[in-house]
Amino acid sequence: MSKLFIKGNEAIAEAAVRGGCRFFAGYPITPQNEIPEYMSRRLPEVGGVFVQGESELASINMIYGAAYAGVSSLTSSSGPGLSLMAEGISSLAASGFPAVLVNMMRGGPGTGAIQGAQMDYMQATRGGGHGGYRMPVLAPGSVQEAVDLVYEAFDIAWKYMTPVLVVADGYIGSVMEAVELPPMKESKRKEFPLYTTVHLNPENPHRRSSCTMITNEVDHEEWNKVQAAKYEKMAEELVRCEEFMMEDAEYVMVAYGTSARVARNAVISLREQGIKAGLIRPILIWPYPYEALRKLDPAKVKNIFCLELSIPAQMVEDVRFGVYDRIPVTTYGRSAGLTFSEEDVEELVKKTIEGGEK
């Protein structure tokens, strides 16, 4: 297969189209603007529809309508936009509607910074919206992986009937890399059955009645149980991480996205200097690969480094949940659009070794 040299955001958009996306609604925000721009010219070519929403609120609700109509749809935004979409995402989850969302993360909180960052970890993995729902959160570490995961995201969305969030730091959207694009999938509208029809119009189950407010408490709780079972199933089946040079690692880095690329180079460099470093890279950040941390042997692993483009550290809560105080955890990161280098990571590891051996 031939390779294409392409910018991350455009690659994501093309991967979505090839994965079956036929509807896009979104509102401009940096650093993801190439996604809607690409979609505006690409979707009509494949019989799809592009709408520039008047806001993120409108956009996510257009996605809500498209999902109801049975179309694979995509919206993309960045942190502030995802915050505005929160009610809609909660409702997609509550309804069991399939859709794919991209958060090309920038600095936060508030308006934050337009440069890339990993500041929306909590928002992404703890729901972001109200009501305690869960959705798969895919965190690509390269443009190629962004392509593969966005393509797969539509399958996950339809398999589990759930919104799927792809979180990439803005760098992945902005860099150009050579990628292999997957083949074009056939995409057909599919009017799937709706749980709430049972509640709203039980005598006529063929009518597609959808509502996220189920006024009968018993029906509502039953649906919550169905959803909870789905969350557990996803948590069991979707865990994915890469373990790099972990067999004999004494100093373990945990990082995702662009942070993991930096960490990987640091691991290679530290190994060359005789330091047994390794990397655990979550590919999904929900469900989180706790097992990769639980199985670490405290007799062998001397320190864990949780690396993020975020201050304060956020993923460390999941890391600590996996490590459970058995091994020291050090957090390190930059934020506001600033990055760290492999030299920074090497220095951090070496300082820790020195400090620990005093």
Binding site: E54, A58, N61, Y64, G65, G88, R189, N201, T212
Partner: protein, 246 residues
Amino acid sequence: MEKIYSRPKALQNRATGYCPGCLHGTTVKIIAELIDEFGIQDSTVAVLPIGCSALDCWSFETDMIISLHGRAPATATGIKRNAPEKTVIVIQGDGDLASIGLAEIMHAANRGENLTVIFMNNGIFGMTGGQMAPTTLIGQKATTAQGGRTEAHGYPMHMCEILNELKAPYYIQRCAMDSPAHVREAKKAIRKGLENQMNGKGFSFIELMSNCPTNWSMSAEKSIEYMREYTLKEFQIGVYRDGGEK
């Protein structure tokens, strides 16, 4: 004996969720009659809002979706753009459409989305218990304007007139539900709105002036009198735009 009238097929066989004296039940009935008349029961999607109009979910025997507060025109856009063969009827109240959903209705209208929007305007937030709406009259009492709305809360917003400033909408009419003659007029307007959509004409907006005996703290009869004496003077009924007449 010959049966000359029965419950429309597009209406579920149960009581509506509306309070006694509320004109929304009549509205649901005439919409259902029209769905029957056009024979579009199986291809109709009712997009309902948050607010009393959401209670239509207990009325329509069609596909339906209850959207988020104010966002019905956006949800409907998502449906209609992807399923153009459906007849998409958007029903929104005045709190939903004129307050939190102002952007969505303006932009759906401005894009000329091929939708039929029914705007139930009773000048108050009904479901949440009678709070002031953007359509509440100056001097009209609400639970968040207990001495009556003052100018400090702004003035009643006239959605037909506001939307009539836009180029794209095809059809805009304000009707009232206070009398049989007006109800017949309203039904005619909704029929036009549905025909427009089925003929691909674009955005139709039908505002229906209604009452709220419960939250206006009036008997049903008094609420009709109030409508005629005050509401319909502030909100003039009539055709604001008819693209078919040009």
